[in-house]
Structures are given as C-alpha cells and as structure tokens.
C-alpha cells in the first residue's frame, strides 16, 4: 500500500465529509430560522434578534457557510441547543452504544447468513434451498420496526427471556441486534449461495475431483476466499444502510444510541447536534469501508491494494 494511495483515500474522505456536511447545512438552512423555536414565546423581538446574532443566523448565508466550514475543520460543531453541551460530546456519549449494536448486528448477519447460503448452495433446488429463499424474502419484506415489535412480544412479553429496553448489559443487545441484522441476513445468504455456486461449477473443482480430493474439502478451500470477498463487499455496502436502520431499531428498543439521538435532534431542530451526528455517521462509514478495502489483499492475494 503506497503513501500515494493513502493520500488519495484521505482526500476522498475529506471530500465526502465536506459534501455531506454541506448537504446537511443547506437542507437545514432551507428549513428556515430555528431561533423562534429556541426562545420561549413572548420573547421581545430585540432579544430574539440578539440571540440570532449570537448564534450567527442573521449573517448572509454564504458568510454563515464560511464560518461553518471554518469551525468544521476544527471539528467544532458548537453547543447542542437542546442538551446545552458541546454537540460532539453528546454524540460521543451515545456512540459506543450504536457501535456495539452495529457490530453485534453484523456478527448476527454473518453467523446466520453464511451458513444458510452455504447450505442452500450445497443442496441447490432442494427443500433447504427453498427454505433459505423464503427466509431471505421474509427478511427483506418485513420492515425493521415490525420485526422488532414481534421479537419483543415473543421474547420479552410472552417468554420473558430477554430484555427489550435500553442498554442494560450483553443480554439486552440480542433482540436489537437480531432486528437490525435480519434484513442483511437475507442478502448475505443469497450472495454466499451464489459465490458457492460459482465455485461449484468452476473448472478447478472438476480438476480437483479428478485428482481424487474430497469434494467438501476442495469446496471449502476454494469457496472460502470467494465468500469472504463477497462478504466484505456487502458489509461495506450495507454499513451505511445498517446505521440508517439503527434509527428505527433504537427507537423500538429505547436504545441509547445516535440513531435515536438523531430523531430527537432533528425534532428539536438542534442544528449543531444534527451536523455532528451526520458527520460522525459518515466518518464511521468511510472508516469501515477503508478498513474493509485493506482486508481484500489479505483475503485474496491476487488483489492488491491500489
């Protein structure tokens, strides 16, 4: 991996963060002036004006944007208007919860999706394959919130096995992680299946068989890198979606993460907080994709990092 490559990636990351922050800035400013929402009713107009001044909402839009960029470079998003704390601090307080949830969801996805896909490929067009297909389709057609509520009704209310509110320890991670991951399980099982099918019909399998090697051994050895690459690609693609899904999962499970925070922040028109949340979300997506790119050459030596 060359320094040049790293630089290019860094430039790309900066561009993406700038672009996303700008989009959010524009959308928020188009929504109008939040100051009237921030002050109590019956506030005298001159006070409203001075607050507007203080928060910088009365400057020309371009100047506001310039100031915003200037502070963005220093990672200064300002004070959260509803929490009365630095916006970035509020986000980082919640960040570990969301990260934990996302990691657990991905783990669930892989642990269920991959075996299901392999089974389906090995027993193609059999009952198992059909079953896997149906599971996959159910996974894609059931909205996250619906899955979450059903899981709560069954596992928390009916069987009283698992907690359903908040982050109270490892056991409370299970239901939200399953809820968040189930959508991707469907996709990963389908992709694993096709990655395996590709190997099944490839020439080297025929060669290997001719050499008298056991089919399963060959399959696993050759299919593994293929499957891993598929997985890495999909996780990269899905990660942003997964974080988006966290908005809903965290609401259903009262999970103290940034997804729920995002809803509150947008609802309160807490501009600095919204900016900080989107920035952190996007940074995470970029970072994860970068790390996954570094994984490719490790999995398959034929691929070199650019």
């Amino acid at each position: 991996m060359s320094a040049r490559y790293l630089l290019a990636r860094l430039a790309q990351a900066i561009f993406l963060l700038w672009g996303i922050s700008t989009i959010v800035f524009v959308v928020l400013r188009l929504s109008g002036d939040p100051v009237l929402l921030l002050v109590p009713q019956e506030t005298p107009p001159e006070v409203v004006d001075s607050i507007r001044e203080e928060l910088g909402f009365n400057a020309p839009l371009l100047e506001q944007y310039g100031r915003f960029l200037g502070r963005l470079v220093q990672l200064d998003f300002g004070q959260s208007l509803s929490y009365n704390q630095p916006a970035l601090d509020v986000v980082f307080d919640r960040f570990p919860s969301t990260l934990k949830l996302a990691v657990a969801a991905i783990a669930f996805t892989i642990l269920t999706g991959v075996p299901l896909g392999i089974l389906a490929a090995l027993h193609r067009n059999s009952i198992i394959d059909r079953f896997a297909l149906i599971v996959a389709l159910l996974g894609t057609s059931a909205p996250t919130f619906w899955v979450g509520i059903l899981l709560i009704l069954l596992f928390s209310v009916r069987w009283q096995l698992l907690p359903s509110i908040g982050d109270q320890g490892p056991s409370s991670l299970i239901l939200p992680a399953v809820t968040l991951g189930i959508f991707s399980t469907a996709k990963i099982s389908r992709l694993t299946r096709s990655a395996f099918l590709e190997v099944l019909r490839s020439d080297f399998l025929r060669t290997a068989r001719a050499k008298g090697l056991r089919e399963r051994v060959v399959l696993l050895r050759h299919a593994a890198p293929n499957t891993l690459i598929t997985l890495v690609t999909v996780i990269g693609l899905e990660f942003a979606l997964l974080l988006g899904g966290a908005v809903i999962t965290e609401t259903v499970f009262s999970w103290p993460g940034i997804g729920r925070l995002a809803i509150q922040a947008i609802g309160a028109r807490d501009y600095p907080l919204v900016q900080a949340i989107v920035f952190v979300f996007a940074s995470l997506v970029i970072l994860v994709n970068f790390l996954l790119d570094l994984l490719y050459p490790l999995i398959d030596p034929r691929i070199k990092a650019r």
Binding site: P143, F145, L197, V247, V285
Partner: protein, 302 residues
C-alpha cells in the same frame, strides 16, 4: 435500500441474442414466477379499478364500529376484512392502498432508475472528468445513511406522497449509476461497439442503439428488486411519522399504524403486512427469474 445483489454487477447481458422459445419454456417450467406475475397484476388491477371494486371509500369512518373483526373471526360480510380504529373498512383501504404503495414503489424506481441510468451511461461512456464527478456523487450518496437523510428532508419539507417519492429516488439512483457504469465500460471495449464507432456513428446514437440495449437487462433485474425495497421503506417512514397522510390508505402506513393494535386487533397490521409480503415476494421471484434467464453462466448450471 438498494436491494442490489452483487452478481448483477457481473451480469453478462445478452437477453436479445437468445431464442425466444427457450425463454418461454423456461417460463412454463417456472410456476412460481407465474404466480408472482399474477399477484403483481392483481394488485395493479386493484389499484386501477379501486373506485369500482372497493366496497367503501377508504377514508369513510364509522366511529361506532371500531375494530370489527374480519369474516371468519367473528366479523360479518358487512366488512369482509374488518375495520380499523376509526371504523374504516380494511378491504377498501387495502384496495386503495395498492394504489399508493405501487405508485411509491414504481415511481421511485422509475425516477431513480432513469437518473441513475443516464448518469451511469454518461459516466461509463465518456469517462474522465465526467466520470470522476458522477462517481464522487455516487460515493457521497452511498456514504450518507439513507434514513438520516430521509428524516431530515421529510421533517424539514414535510411528508406527503411527492416528497416521499423524491426522497426514495434520491436514495436509489446511485446504485444504478454504479452498476451501469461498470457494464458500459466493459461493453464499450467490445468489438461491435468499436466497429460502430469507427464507422462514424454519433455518440448519442451509439449509446442508445448499441450500448443501452445490452445493459438493459441487468437494470430491469435491479429495478425489480428495488420496487419491493421501496414499498418496505415507505412503511419505515410511516413508522417515524413521516409517511403518507393517515386518511389516505397506503400499505406501509397501515402496517405502521397497526403496530399499536397488534395485541388487540391483529388484522390491522397483519393484513397490509401480508399484502406487502406478497408483492415483495412476487417482485423477487420475478427478479430472480429475470436474472436467471439473462445470465448465461447461471443458466448452464441450472
């Protein structure tokens, strides 16, 4: 959001070069697809004929007849599928709901598909700086968690059918652009395209006549999967209170509403849920089938 299987990206695309009879026999052998198509057609018919076949107006309330059960569960033939918390007829709302849900699904796919395909064609064919710009936007879109963007835009600009379709379209276009771009790049290098170009065929014509038809099939497959995903997403937006206005019936909205009554009147959420499930299943079956008949490598092993 994208419902986009990676193998479509490696799709060889030569639907047109295969004998038609072959596809037909395949179709006959593939009964799930027929069922899928029938379901989709049925929904489309319901959507179109809603005013004539629905027993009630979808917004017509009867506050004295809340939570009437479906027929077979203690209900009467007055309301075949029961009523909701405002005494509205579920069957009528499902029929009218097909309208909005299909409009949301298909128009979001149509818009995002068109935009994505155009940008993908341009980006893949011309390459260089145009390509660089389009690809930066693609990356931007894929990095921005959709749900956050949707929340933000709908909260600020308000919900409603139009805005929801716009938001879903914004979320969808990038995948088309990226897939198409890579296909165009590989097609561009093929002999017949080279030949046409050296024969002096103009760019627009070349794109429209030679390249576009060849990459079309993978786009159709992709679109089929996306329609289903869009319908599910509309439900998620309703859950967050940013969906279609509640008097208009949409399956996603009914499903989201129904969650509050799950333990006291299961039919409110379950029935629209089944409708969504049926359409998503159908679209996926159709998509799978399209993929299989258009992908020669898969066909050989089938």
């Amino acid at each position: 959001m994208d419902g986009m299987p990676a193998q479509t990206q490696t799709l060889a695309s030569n639907l047109s070069s295969k004998p038609r009879r072959n596809a037909l026999t395949r179709f006959r052998a593939n009964w799930p697809v027929i069922i899928g198509l029938l379901i989709v057609l049925l929904c489309a018919a319901a959507a179109i004929c809603a005013p004539w076949i629905a027993p009630y107006a979808p917004e017509q309330q009867n506050l004295r007849n809340q939570f009437a059960a479906p027929i077979g569960f203690g209900g009467t033939s007055e309301h075949w599928l029961g009523t909701d918390q405002l005494g509205r007829d579920i069957l009528s709302r499902l029929i009218y709901g097909a309208r909005i849900s299909l409009i949301v699904g298909f128009s979001a796919v149509a818009i995002s598909g068109t935009v994505g395909i155009l940008l993908g064609l341009i980006s893949g064919y011309y390459g260089r700086w145009l390509d660089a710009i389009v690809m930066r936007f693609v990356e931007l879109q894929l990095t921005f968690p959709f749900m956050l963007l949707a929340l933000l835009v709908l909260a600020v600009f308000g919900g409603g059918l139009r805005n929801i379709v716009i938001v879903l379209s914004i979320a969808g276009w990038a995948v088309y652009a990226r897939v198409l771009r890579s296909e165009v790049i590989s097609t561009r290098e093929q002999l017949y395209v080279e030949a046409a170009r050296s024969a002096g065929v103009r760019d627009a014509r070349l794109l429209a006549r030679h390249i576009f038809p060849n990459v079309m099939s993978s786009m159709i497959v992709l679109a089929t999967f996306s329609v289903a995903a869009m319908i599910v997403q509309e439900s998620a937006l309703s859950f967050l209170g940013l969906g279609i206005p509640p008097d208009q019936a949409s399956w996603g909205g009914m499903l989201a509403d129904g969650r509050n009554f799950l333990t006291i009147a299961w039919w409110l959420g379950t029935l629209p849920g089944l409708a969504i499930l049926a359409v998503v299943l159908s679209m996926n079956l159709i998509g799978d089938w399209l993929r299989d008949v258009t992908d020669p490598t898969i066909r050989n092993t089938r």
